[in-house]
Symmetry: C2
Subunit: 284 residues, 2 copies
């Protein structure tokens, strides 16, 4: 075993070096990476070198990973391994690496077995498997719908939309739309609020009849100006004055028409999607 | 406490009723839902009624959830709660519900504290927080790039692409492209292989010079025919003969040009994305 205990790093002079963190999975590694990263975020004082290794589903594959981990340790602090691996045999191989192995799956499976009074099935877990064909179709359709209805490009089939996201340019409509489509298979259209839409008090005529499906986005003028500056530097479009005006008008419009809305400036695409789904009662 | 022990369900005649499962989070609930669903998938004999409750970040919010859980239990088997909640106070509230609470976070944080020899920071975990603005920009740019370069619509800026996905129509190019863009901020273009592209031996001229960035998709003729039938029933386009021909030609093209490729028929969008990233060495 080439791996000394954790404390050895203090004496080898590599204390400031980044700690190796592995996300190892018998499937895509997405869950290991997401939960593992969330856990690591609680230690802002430590720097990590991250490696995701998906599809580790044989003992031979596990031995390759172990060799990799041992090279990464290289006499320094023991690497951290976040594992979503169902096979006991593979977990045993990983334990031989000398790394700190955090099992994101096995312990919870035992808890569930106790709660449900039944034994987990023997197959490898299908975390992100293809599932049923119907769900796959729904997702494909949703992504295509989102592309077709991005940025007010098409007004066709708006009556099918689960949500219509409205906002001035660059408030985060497009990525939020795509996330809702891909992650949840929802039909999401989005429509830009431009200067043309503001003389009247009501919603733009294209979406007015679907007011119950509308959800508004806003942001801070400074943030909007920064984001627009990325696209068109030093333009009226990206000026703080123009951004301030458009956001104020958009928020007035939302309030007048009782359209629920959200400030996107401090929120990730995932957070905005979760708020929209909760607000529009799109999930239980 | 209204909740009897699990075994009571056997005597109340609701044994066959669905068991309530809650995904409770102080953030979006995405991690709780993903890992919780993966764990539940190991018990195919049990039916679950699922509820995701995001943004539970106050004791008052937790008490509302507890009331909800107790209503769901209604004298039957104890609900299962998967929690990604950092606050001990909120976890204590949830424990009062009488449900089986599976803590996806706390135990692993203690393991990490021991391994790193330091204490987790006190702030609420930012699972899916906005992170740095740079990463947000990268993701927005990637989604816009993907929309612009979907289905060979634009050949502009292909030299910037991290990957160009090529395949006959309906093999899964578009959702895979969007997933890679949204989840990883990669610049992904996709290009359809049509009959016009097959007389020659080489790749279509539009993408030939980027052969090192190309990744091919294929599927089974039957699956392709099913998927195409969804769009254009009883057409030549969706006929088994046409699908068989196009897939054979596409696979020949991949092999002749040493383009790595993948059969999408049994793979989810997440799995395909993970394979593509591994194959193109787009993550460490």
């Amino acid at each position: 075993m080439a791996n000394p205990p954790t404390s050895a790093s203090a004496t080898t002079g590599v204390r400031a070096a980044a700690r190796a963190a592995y996300f190892v999975s018998d499937s895509t590694g997405i869950t290991a990476e997401t939960l593992g990263s969330a856990l690591l975020a609680n230690f802002p004082g430590v720097t990590f070198r991250r490696h995701t290794i998906p599809f580790v589903d044989t003992a031979g594959g596990a031995r390759d990973v172990v060799a990799d981990i041992q090279r990464a340790a290289d006499g320094g602090a023991a690497p951290i391994v976040f594992a979503t691996v169902k096979s006991d045999l593979i977990m045993q191989e990983l334990a031989l690496s000398g790394a700190v192995v955090i099992d994101l799956l096995g312990g919870h499976l035992r808890e569930l077995e106790a709660a449900l009074g039944s034994t987990a099935s023997e197959q490898l877990g299908q975390f992100h498997g293809v599932g049923d064909l119907e769900r796959y179709f729904a997702r494909m359709r949703a992504v295509e719908y989102a592309i077709e209805h991005d940025d007010g490009q098409s007004m066709r089939a708006l009556d099918m939309a689960d949500v219509i996201i409205i906002a001035p340019s660059r408030c985060g409509k497009t990525p939020t739309t795509m996330y809702l489509a891909l992650q949840y298979g929802l039909l999401v259209a989005n429509y830009p609020l431009t200067d043309d839409d503001f003389p009247a008090d009501g919603l733009p005529s294209a979406v007015a009849r679907y007011v119950d499906k509308c959800f508004g986005l806003t942001t801070t003028p400074l943030r909007l100006s920064q984001v627009r500056h990325e696209r068109r530097p030093s333009s009226t479009y990206s000026s703080l004055a123009q951004c301030t005006l458009e956001l104020r008008r958009a928020e007035d419009l939302y309030r007048r028409n009782r359209v629920p809305f959200l400030n996107s400036s401090t929120k990730s695409v995932e957070e905005m999607s979760a708020v929209i789904m909760q607000s529009m009662r799109l999930r239980s």
